[in-house]
């Protein structure tokens, strides 16, 4: 096989990119002793002890369950809210529609920290503190505008005449929307689901502020692993690997549409 110049560059790039992830995987399969006392490119004493700890200790695995719960809730809520909103923006002209549309995106311009305090106080006073739905709703603040923008792009690519033809054929609005329209923008919905999932999955500040015990996310659990016996490096690395997995899985399924999604459907 001939090694080309560009092939070398690619190889080095991938190598640098994958190195931290490999090192994380490497660590997760070692004992704490080996991590701290020696340098080895691969585990000398291969162990799955760290993973077993996570899968058996409730304080660890409940972190994953909590995270996945609020992430899924948020994804479903965001899509359900964004679909009709995006449809209205793409199909109807109403007073201030363009301003409203832009204003939606400006919500993403403020750092989440700004919203942490009002959310914390509001949720505490209405009894939503430390629930999954609290985090899911808080994340809607970022995800709904994004979802509306992306879906609007995809919907505007569908000719209005298809709507009209369906009405003339006798379709009611709901039936048209679910049977004809949604399959047409299925890739858009997939991309939106991916973005909602991703932003909600990696967001730490709001998730940690709004939860304490019951709905504690995995990212928060990971930052609290310093025990009397010092850092549990191996378990932390294993937790890191397991945090990457869901995101990687989702990316795998929508890989063909992500570029279009980043362009907000306007390709």
């Amino acid at each position: 096989m001939k090694v080309t110049k560009s092939g070398m560059v690619m190889f080095l790039y991938i190598l640098f990119l994958m190195l931290p992830i490999y090192w994380l995987l490497n660590m997760s399969l070692k004992t704490n002793n080996e991590i701290l006392n020696s340098f080895s490119l691969w585990p000398q004493n291969l162990t799955f002890e760290n993973y077993m700890t996570i899968f058996t200790d409730k304080s660890w695995y409940s972190g994953y369950i909590n995270s996945i719960t609020y992430v899924l809730m948020n994804t479903v809520i965001s899509i359900c809210v964004a679909l009709p909103a995006a449809y209205a923006f793409s199909r109807y002209r109403f007073m201030g529609d363009k301003h409203l549309f832009f204003w939606l995106l400006t919500n993403r311009m403020a750092p989440p920290a700004v919203f942490a305090l009002p959310f914390f106080q509001l949720y505490s006073s209405v009894g939503l503190f430390d629930t999954h739905i609290a985090v899911a709703l808080a994340h809607c603040l970022f995800n709904v505008p994004l979802a509306v923008w992306i879906l609007e792009g995809f919907m505007s690519g569908v000719p209005k005449e298809i709507d009209e033809t369906a009405y003339l054929d006798g379709y009611s609005f709901t039936r048209f929307f679910t049977r004809i329209f949604m399959p047409l923008i299925a890739s858009g919905i997939g991309v939106v689901a991916f973005f909602c999932f991703m932003f909600s999955w990696v967001e730490l500040l709001l998730a940690r502020t709004l939860t304490s015990v019951v709905a504690k996310p995995i990212a928060a659990t990971m930052t609290r692993t310093v025990s009397a016996a010092g850092m549990d490096w191996g378990v932390l690395a294993a937790a890191g690997i397991l945090t990457i997995v869901p995101g990687a899985l989702v990316i795998y399924f929508v890989r063909n549409y992500i570029a279009k999604g980043f362009a907000l459907g306007r390709v």
Binding site: P159, E161, E164, T165, D169, G170, Y171, S172, I180
Partner: protein
């Protein structure tokens, strides 16, 4: 059985798309909406379909007012210029979709879909998705969907404009037959006078949101009520010449005064505009009565059996459509001839005074 528009108008955002108009279309009739782009053909169709609400006026079907009946409840089929199908469904499901909504049995649906696809020559493609078909097949799929519905009103908005010429001829022949047999009111919009003549039936000549004239296609063609209709219903455009009749003399704009001849002799004194169809603007003197006019050649287009000779008469653009190949040099001066008996004569208010003698208009 009739479809009736009374004083229907449409104003959108301060722009008048359709001025108040009356129109009655009978069941089983073929009606061509003819007019240039922006004439309001599509706007009028959308009002008929109920996709847009009229600003004023009533739309009725057999005397029942339809204004407030939702689109879904009206039995209407519409085919657009763009090929509109449901991309996520197979061709079979596309054609079947209006029937599924109506809740017909699978057996009945299958029978109708098979009939329609046979007619539209789609049978081998039933399991494919519309986007995997050629443009003509996509449009046939849309037509088949309109056909299975047994709609009372079939609206076709320039359905053949995006198809190649061979397919157009084929479909243009079949469509009217298929749809008018079903007893529906059939409305067909087109920008092309030739298409209107080929389809026959009735023609609604439209211009700038108004109906210029409505009647049997040939009548409208032969007896345009005014210059607007004449302009709409002529391809290439009609040539106009201003003349003044005084006694036995004829003053032609930009020309010498001459003795009135032929059909011009019987005109009352006054100012007129003469309309001449391009095929009646002769390059050779057809008869002794013919009016000779000096013009400048600008461009010549040769199609083979015919030549379009574009001319300038003063600042007016004229076209002569002559048989065979003619190629006068551009910029050169040429004499063209008008047989008075072939001329449409309009008065100062652009109303028609006299049409050419029928026997001579081929």
């Amino acid at each position: 059985m009739s479809f009736k528009l009374e004083q229907v108008s449409s104003v959108v955002g301060g722009n008048t798309h359709i001025y108040p108009l009356d129109l009655t279309l009978t069941a089983g009739s073929l009606n061509v909406l003819l007019g240039p782009t922006q004439a309001g053909k599509t706007s009028l169709m959308r009002l008929m379909a109920g996709l847009d609400k009229p600003t004023t006026g009533d739309i009725s079907w057999n005397g029942d007012r339809m204004n407030d009946v939702p689109v879904q409840k009206r039995n209407i089929a519409m085919v657009y210029q763009q090929f509109i199908n449901y991309p996520a469904m197979t061709v079979y499901e596309n054609i079947a979709s209006p029937l599924r909504i109506r809740g017909l049995s699978n057996k009945a649906i299958d029978k109708k879909v098979m009939e329609a696809s046979e007619l539209m020559k789609l049978t081998p493609m039933l399991q494919r998705k519309p986007l995997e078909l050629s443009g003509g097949q996509q449009q046939r799929c849309a037509l088949a969907r309109a056909l299975v519905k047994d709609a009372d009103l079939v609206l076709l908005d320039e359905p053949l404009a995006n198809l190649d010429y061979k397919l157009r001829e084929e479909l243009r022949e079949e469509m009217p037959k298929i749809f008018t047999e079903s007893g529906a009111v059939f409305v067909y919009a087109t920008t092309e006078p030739t298409e209107a003549l080929l389809l026959g039936g009735n023609t609604v000549a439209m211009s700038e949101g108004r109906i210029a004239q409505f009647g049997k296609t040939l009548d409208v063609y032969r007896n345009p009520k005014d210059m607007t209709t004449a302009r709409v219903f002529s391809e290439p455009p009609m040539n106009f010449l201003k003349i003044t009749k005084q006694g036995g003399e004829l003053h032609v704009q930009g020309e010498q005064t001459r003795t009135a001849t032929g059909a011009f002799t019987t005109l009352d004194n006054g100012q007129y505009t003469v309309g001449i169809r391009p095929n009646h603007l002769m390059l050779h003197r057809p008869s002794d009565d013919a009016l000779a006019i000096e013009v400048t050649v600008s461009v010549v287009e040769i199609t083979g059996s015919e030549s379009f000779v574009h001319l300038l008469h003063g600042d007016q653009r004229w076209v002569s459509l002559a048989h065979g190949i003619h190629h006068p040099e551009s910029g050169s001066t040429l004499t063209v001839y008008v047989d008075p008996s072939n001329a449409y004569i309009f008065d100062e208010n652009e109303q028609m005074v006299r049409a050419p003698e029928l026997a001579k208009v081929a």
